[in-house]
Symmetry: C3
Subunit: 153 residues, 3 copies
């Protein structure tokens, strides 16, 4: 089964909006009824509930974005997402999309560094003719991150 084109574009535009720090555009990729979580593979394997970032509705995402845009205390840096092609986890699965990724961190006057690797696990719905995330789980491969996770992944 090939991945629907609007799902591919949704995942690409989401990553691009983060890389350009266009967090309003990033918000638009989520449904009103949504769930967003950043966790680690180790957390998941052990059934530990606490993720690195967690929102159970879109207003919590709006709050996060407002907080980033107003306070803005973190070291100025940007991301670059490189996405592996999106896949479905096995034959016959049709509502779950997996996209492996690597994110680099770009800081002015410093070398670019590998930040994190992991995978997106997405459920996508169509609202008003537009594909949006009903759920996005960001599962990181490494069990620790060396900096504050200010901007969503």
């Amino acid at each position: 089964m090939s991945i629907p084109n609007d799902v591919v574009e949704l995942i690409q535009w989401n990553a691009r909006s983060l890389d350009r720090l266009e967090l309003g555009t990033w918000l638009e990729t989520f449904a009103e009824v949504t769930r967003y979580e950043i966790t680690t593979a180790e957390n998941e394997r052990n059934g530990w509930p606490l993720g690195l970032m967690h929102a159970t509705n879109k207003n919590q995402l709006r709050d996060r974005v407002a907080s980033i845009e107003s306070v803005n205390v973190y070291e100025p840096h940007r991301y670059r997402h490189i996405l592996s092609p999106t896949l479905i986890p096995g034959p016959g699965v049709s509502d779950q999309y997996i996209t492996p990724f690597v994110v680099y961190r770009i800081t002015p006057s410093k070398p670019t560094v590998l930040f994190v690797t992991g995978e997106y696990r997405d459920r996508v719905v169509t609202v008003g003719g537009r594909a949006v995330f009903a759920e996005r789980r960001v599962v990181l491969d490494n069990d620790q991150i060396d900096t504050l996770l200010a901007i969503p992944l």
Copy 2:
């Protein structure tokens, strides 16, 4: 010519099974009559025959997997494959697929590191309605690897 969808999925599921250490699933992506080799670009350029891993049939792959699963002496780590989109090497080629990749190595409580870059060169056949590898050559860019290559790439 666009890449057939079952070929794309085969390549994705193969990488995913390695990243999840599901080596039984990895085995299922190969035909019974298959050839698997890991080598380097330098080896290939010089016509040197000896690869880093070499199997001329599926039973040799089964042995390798059994050995990894039983002995298990290597440092516990996992991979993360990021695949560049699969291409055919030129116009009119229809039975050869190239997939550039980078593999990161994830080790508990250590920073994730770049492990290897290279490309898959695949021939794919359909057996019982299912796409499987008739040949996979894993050609690494670097001429040396800094650790034992325990898990296939």
Copy 3:
């Protein structure tokens, strides 16, 4: 809107020809009337005109390639491009293609290193039935590069 297959192949073959140091093949991916520029996101943000490499027609690209192939004074190294799937920047855009990338630098007997991240911004035309670049802007994320940029990106 899905990306036309000949555009995807053009972008893939261009990267592959660079990775194999086949600069004649790389030249063939450009139209006679073309524009090629390597710049940085910072340059672009500030409206600074000077890029790291700049050609306003194909003959300037030919000169560059001839110069690389004849003089050849740079440290022998190769690239490995890993491409994120190509996207269009938003709904309804049909003549502009964006491809995020990471490039690793491979040097004999040295560890492979992250070289640059960035994105291609391409305009593609069909000439004689073949897709070729009418414009390629290579926008790098980092504001500085730690080595001479000898080979195009």
